[in-house]
Point group: none
Chain length 220, copies 4
């Protein structure tokens, strides 16, 4: 009886484990070999699974790449959401949490950056993958905009909407630029420096809300 209850799940768990192994192997390949080098042979060799499995579970290499992209995307958001939850409730804390998490080693690492830009290079060709690269947008962009709007209002800016939009846009662009920096010079990259620059940008926009952790603004 118990075996009956136990058996079915075992099969399904194994199945799911294989699915995940393929996705992980795919992301590893993309990270190390690029999209072009991510052949079915490379994937199955790394996963230690059989050729047919890719078509069994994903119906072809393209779909597997899509699902891998989606999974990476989900991971990115899970990490970010967790950080926001853990951070203090004030808008400043929330913004800083986003910046620090996005630049943290959990997200901004070689594997991640490599995959990110590899997919982005293909994004234009495959809409399904574009969705993934778009992600830093829709959801995050709105959240960060709302946060900045609160800040802009509390700062009594003349045009809070525009200021908040520019702040959100600029912050995300800066983060994006830092990722590109990291991709090209992973060893020269300094996380603290990147963080400091983003905070400088914010301190420039909202001097009374952000400071350079004790540092003064560039000009007095």
């Amino acid at each position: 009886m118990e075996r009956q209850v136990d058996k079915k799940p075992t099969r399904d768990i194994l199945r799911e484990r294989n699915r995940m192994a393929l996705i992980t192997a795919t992301l590893d390949c993309v990270a190390e070999l690029g999209i072009a080098g991510t052949s079915v042979s490379a994937i199955i060799e790394r996963a230690g699974l059989s050729r047919g499995m890719i078509h069994l579970h994903f119906d072809g290499k393209d779909k597997l790449l899509e699902e891998a992209a989606q999974q990476l995307n989900a991971q990115y958001y899970d990490t970010l959401d967790a950080a926001l939850l853990a951070a203090g409730p004030s808008p400043e804390e929330q913004v800083e949490a986003i910046v620090r998490t996005d630049l943290s080693v959990d997200l901004l690492n070689e594997r991640y950056a490599n995959i990110w830009y590899a997919f982005r290079g293909e994004a234009r060709k495959r809409d399904s993958i574009a969705v993934f690269s778009n992600t830093r947008d829709a959801r995050l962009r709105n959240r960060i905009f709302q946060t900045f709007l609160a800040i802009a209002r509390s700062a009594e800016c003349p045009e809070p909407e525009q200021v908040a939009r520019d702040a959100a846009h600029g912050t995300l662009a800066l983060l994006e630029g830092m990722w590109a920096d990291f991709l090209l010079h992973p060893h020269a990259f300094r996380r603290e420096e990147a963080t400091r620059i983003v905070l400088r940008f914010l301190a420039g926009l909202f001097p009374s809300h952000f400071t350079l952790s004790g540092a003064q603004p560039a000009e007095r």
Copy 2:
């Protein structure tokens, strides 16, 4: 004799024309089809030239891609250099020229952005192409750093080197981020908005040197 004199230049000119046609066709293919879609067949079809020519002139597809990358890179710098030459001599004017040119339609357009990110996706795999994507770095980075150093000194900042480095780093990162923005949403993208945000960043760092074309800083 005369024919000899006549023919030789013609041949060389033709040769060079074919070389360029292949490079242009390659960039077109990368822009439209992505790196993966840029097969030898696609290139020669677009160029209207023969298959063997790629090996004749470039010794293989990979080398052709490299040269295409280099050419694009050169174009980028030529455009930027011309703009810097045309701009006023003050550090502020030089910086603004870089920002406005980098975001101008001459450089930031769909073809350019597509190619840029396509190559960057492959950059890690091929060092020769990485060189190209690196470009916004070495030369430009130093130049912009020197310019900001002049500004930081004239602004009497406490740590002018660090401030200048952060300003250079941040500006380039912001520009980079704007390109990514454009890549993903070419139609929603607003050039003036992007420019304004970069200037906001600069105005935040150097309030007395940069202003938002009459606009005030967000907070007073």
Copy 3:
């Protein structure tokens, strides 16, 4: 006990039902998708049964195809035998019954014709299937020959054996040809016309035994 008695038959009935379901699904697939399209996946999907069943019941796809061919063959003969039993006992009536039944919608329909020719295309490769396509021969051929022999003798032909053999051969060839006609132009096909032509052939051979249902021979 009772349960035992009850279950056993149920199992066997289920087993047989599954066997038949697989054969029917196979024939459906062959009719709609051709031999090439009749994959194990296609069959089990149509049958709504599990993959392993084919090997459980038939020991592989090839054997299943054979059994399907045999079953179709048996159906053909059952229909024909029933028609001969229902027809009048005279040789003329028997011959006409064969012709009309062979061209009737019960046998000559799209499903049947599609399967018939699909198997025949593979017949040469698999002897086991060839048996099926042969069928219009051995048994039927002899029966029809005997019938024509009776007619030829009653008609006092000079060489009754040869005439009967030719009549049998010709009739079967004509029927065969009509099937091919139907296969290629199922919508243009006219059953009555086909029947009339066969009867014309018979009327030509045995004017005093067959007439065109009131029609005259072509020439007088």
Copy 4:
């Protein structure tokens, strides 16, 4: 100079020779191995050519099969047309030429019959191949109909159109049936017997135009 003139053609001739070699190898494979056994590997092995050639010349296996079908079709008609040209001009001679040629070893041989039925089995699935199997129709059917119409009129039949149509239909169906016969029993098949039966059919329809080479009609 001469070499120049010679060279170009040489290349084209070689190219064409390879094309034809592939078609021939394909037909050979279909004849011996059936459609299912006609893999790209089988074809190139038989042709002694390289794998890529099939896609170079035909753009894929399917198209190659189509062209092979078309070529066989053309051969069939060329043979038939030649025979009709060589035959006497009278309608009887023309009809007899069709019958004798269709059943001659030039057309009705194992290779031909095998290929014919192999393609027909696939005909329903691929329209392009269906065209081929249709062929005994459109053109030939009309020609034979016109010939019979002349005969029917000269025989003063009551309804010459219908008689001619039935005669054409019946003759083609008989020939078709003889091919099926041959396919299934190539060794038992007797060409003369087949021819005699078709002529019996014609003699039955048009007693004054066709005779069994000195034989009498079955009945008097």
